[in-house]
């Protein structure tokens, strides 16, 4: 269980001279699924990547404002980025397992963090695969290459890999956009289960998906947070005309 909100205060971000996030403030609740929606280039993925400092890897990025998690500012230069990324796991649009066995993919994180006990590692792998709803499908083939799995299975493997280091927060950037409908349904089912233990923040272009799985929805447009409310409100009776235009398909 996580207990802390993720509080973003007046967050702005520039890529060189272009402003990608403009004074975003929102309070993300623990153990809930928050969906970030908006047209391409609206800042939602940039925002997501702020939460585990992934934007640090991009040259010329500058931020203002703060993201407070458990009393500390994630964006502070003093923040321990390695520890932050253990606590804030990430799953990408295109699954990216390591060219290793299923077992070693999951064990990679704990091993990197110094775990050597083999029995304990096996437990961690089994536990992570169970949480990612993949265990039953792979338990007899843990030594096979991760690439032998289907796309949907590889994506759930990546989620299991993220879970193996016991994060508090899971960031997902379009995790289902390259999956078939059945794999998507399994992933969505998994996400609604994961929120019992984790805070989930998901970027999606699929608005029905956001409506199905999230508790809260944030609508971004041109770097600004236009509206943030319960998912039910956003999809039935949004307060802002730009939100209404977007969710009903009246943009552009």
């Amino acid at each position: 269980m996580v207990s802390s909100n993720i509080e973003c205060n007046n967050l702005s971000l520039w890529y060189e001279d272009s402003k990608a996030l403009d004074d975003v403030s929102m309070n993300i609740k623990p153990n809930r699924v928050t969906a970030l929606i908006g047209p391409s280039g609206c800042g939602k993925s940039t925002f997501l990547r702020c939460i585990n400092r992934m934007n640090d890897e991009i040259a010329g990025v500058r931020t203002e404002g703060s993201i407070i998690f458990e009393g500390e500012d994630i964006l502070s230069p003093k923040a321990d980025v390695v520890e932050l990324r253990r606590r804030v796991g990430m799953v990408f649009q295109r699954w990216n397992p390591f060219p290793k066995s299923i077992f070693d993919n999951i064990a990679y994180g704990p091993r990197t963090h110094g775990m050597k006990d083999k029995a304990r590692l096996s437990e961690i792998v089994e536990d992570a695969l169970k949480k990612a709803a993949l265990w039953d499908e792979v338990k007899d083939r843990l030594r096979e290459s991760a690439f032998s799995l289907s796309g949907g299975q590889q994506q759930r493997l990546c989620i299991a890999r993220a879970l193996a280091v016991e994060p508090d927060i899971l960031l997902m950037d379009e995790p289902a956009s390259a999956l078939d409908p059945i794999s998507t349904a399994k992933l969505e089912e998994l996400i609604t289960k994961l929120k019992q233990r984790y805070t989930v923040i998901i970027v999606t272009h699929n608005m029905q998906q956001a409506a199905r799985i999230s508790d809260f929805t944030a609508f971004f447009y041109m770097g600004k947070l236009i509206e943030f409310d319960t998912t039910n409100t956003i999809f039935t009776n949004p307060g802002e005309e730009r939100t209404e235009a977007y969710i009903t398909g009246r943009f552009g």
């Binding site: 005309e241 209404e244 235009a245 009903t248 398909g249 552009g252």
Partner: protein, 225 residues
Amino acid sequence: MLKKHTNSAYEAELDQLRDKILLMGGYVEEAIAQAMEALKDRDSEKAKRVISRDKLINTLELEIDELCVELLALRQPAGSDLRLIITGLKISTDLERMGDLVVNLCERVIELSREPLLKPLIDLPHMANLAMGMVREALDAYVKHDASAAKEVCERDDEVDNLDSQIVRELLTYMMEKPGSITRGLGLIMVTRYLERIADHATNISEMVIFLVKGKDVRHRGIGD
């Protein structure tokens, strides 16, 4: 009003829904007017024609419901589009019930036309005009997304209710004085009650229009702000 949809076929389907609701409302209004003329003229043939035209209203109900189901299944509507479709489903039911009430009214007209009119009709046509106005304006409010016009229609229902009790009282007096007038008096009381219920359905439509515009359900709790 919002901009048009990026998907023009979707936009066209929503327009089609609005058009069909308006058409159905037009048929209902016309049916009420014709039925009242038939009552006044004791014209049972006209009443029968109105009854046979109820098929058109029923067919439109089916078409509207089918269109709404199709929109829900294929377009996954959200926000005001979702409310427009949900409201459309409800309005089609209210309009269809109004159509049935007009059929009942015409059945009474056929019975009443066998005898001379009990009294000159003054309040009943007035009541019918009020009810027709409520139907027309409720549907105008639907098409124009006008919540304050819808609220105004809801408020006018009281006037219809007052007329209803006034007419019933008056007819009761007639019937007490002349037992020979009881059959005709009862027929007219039923006509009054049909009109009162038609106005109630128009009120339902108006309440749904407020939901459509504001996303707030005002049924069973008063329409205040």
